[in-house]
Symmetry: C2
Subunit: 263 residues, 2 copies
């Protein structure tokens, strides 16, 4: 539980803006949708939109700004993408060059900001349905794996599908599919249930990102498309400059999770 | 019933390509998803993607081609957007200048093709659920109305929301909401149920496009977002050149309607 669990997004934007808070956002502003940030120059932005359109499960666009605009006015009016996240990452030609607390020095007036859905939203729905979320129980980051499935390329962007894994008790797997299917804009239904080798994962204990978690007897590994897919694709494309949130340091919108439910 | 009800899409692409068939596509290739076509130069395409992202109900993108590509390889591999529709419309600076059977003479190698979801898909689901679709019973075009609600602007694109109306027996309204909610990529759930004046429609008998239909005793007018919204916005933006399908002369994909169901 975060001490900021019951804060509202405006309060936290302000703390992030003043660098009074620079922590991971997990557990903050309970019930409000958190989002991945990707910022690209306009010349790459159309390609990224096409890539997102073709890969809606790993790359669900919640909001996109006009070139040069830094207020995501549909999901978070009054906020500023340049300052209102706790920490950022700056990539130049695909290489990490900086991890600042704001991006005012890097911002250019042809930059386009993308906010992408994040699985925090459906994890809350799983917990509400009494389905365990192991990495939360173990206070870890979710395990993420690079699969042998390719995304569908769009312009300069392509790469493998990255997935998250949550161990689900076998009698709750159907329920987990139903619950997450309600949220297509935050990765939606699983892309695979069961044998990891079917999607090219050799060892569940060795995730490519995040932490490994315990899979108990009677549990089945269930895999969902992951937002890191778009970062991997963007880095492979090596745009001149790309800015993202630092892992776990998400943007907090002031839209409620349930607004992204389809039913 | 169309004599091409049981044809497959490949057969019809070929007939359209050879101009052996130039009719409206309603009822053709039963079970296959039909789509609206919008073609724009690359310089307007990013703005249109942003407009679509912000208005997913009226402007659901099923496929988008890379600049210069005319094969929509995800929803209709092997087809050609330049020839495989029965009839097109060419707009120059927002004015209709031609209605040709192919667009080979107009095609430019920076053109981007958008295929947008069409309500034919959810109408089939309504009929399968024993919910009447009046304009089909009366062998008319669906009535369409310009509302007093604005779309969310994206780049150069903005304009009013255009809706379709279907009269639904009052005891079947909930079912109609549920059935169409399953298809968010072809306009999804209704945007309004009941009193037309609530959304700025003065007279149901005088639609802005299409034909008026009979609303019987015990029926409620139900309104869904309509693909004409994007054409209206595109024409208002007056791009140098824009190409669309001719009304009712849709592109037939070889994806099945049920592939667009979320549940």
């Amino acid at each position: 539980m975060s001490e900021f669990e019951n804060s509202n997004p405006e309060e936290l934007w302000s703390l992030f803006r003043d660098n009074e808070l620079t922590k991971q956002t997990s557990g903050m502003c309970d019930g409000y949708t958190q989002a991945n940030l990707v910022v690209l120059p306009k010349k790459e932005a159309f390609d990224f939109m096409v890539f997102a359109q073709r890969n809606p499960k790993p790359v669900p666009v919640l909001d996109v700004t006009e070139p040069g605009e830094f207020e995501p006015k549909f999901v978070a009016p009054g906020s500023d993408l340049r300052t209102d996240l706790p920490k950022y990452r700056i990539y130049e030609n695909g290489e990490l060059i900086d991890e600042p607390y704001d991006i005012l020095d890097y911002w250019d007036d042809d930059f386009v900001g993308f906010l992408l859905g994040c699985s925090f939203t459906f994890e809350r729905a799983l917990i509400d349905a009494s389905i365990p979320v192991r990495h939360r129980e173990e206070d870890k980051n979710v395990p993420m794996y690079i699969t042998d499935r390719d995304t569908t390329s769009g312009g300069i962007f392509s790469g493998p599908l990255v997935v998250t894994m949550r161990p689900i008790p076998i009698e709750k797997v159907v329920k987990a599919v139903k619950v997450t299917s309600r949220f297509p804009r935050v990765h939606g239904a699983p892309i695979h249930i069961g044998d990891p080798s079917e999607i090219g994962i050799e060892d569940l204990d060795v995730p490519d990102y995040g932490d490994s978690v315990n899979v108990k007897d009677g549990e089945v590994p269930v895999f969902w498309a992951c937002g890191v897919t778009s970062q991997a694709a963007a880095l492979e494309a090596e745009p001149d400059l790309m800015i993202t949130h630092a892992p776990g340091h998400m943007f907090i919108t002031n839209r409620k999770d349930e607004e992204y439910s389809v039913l």
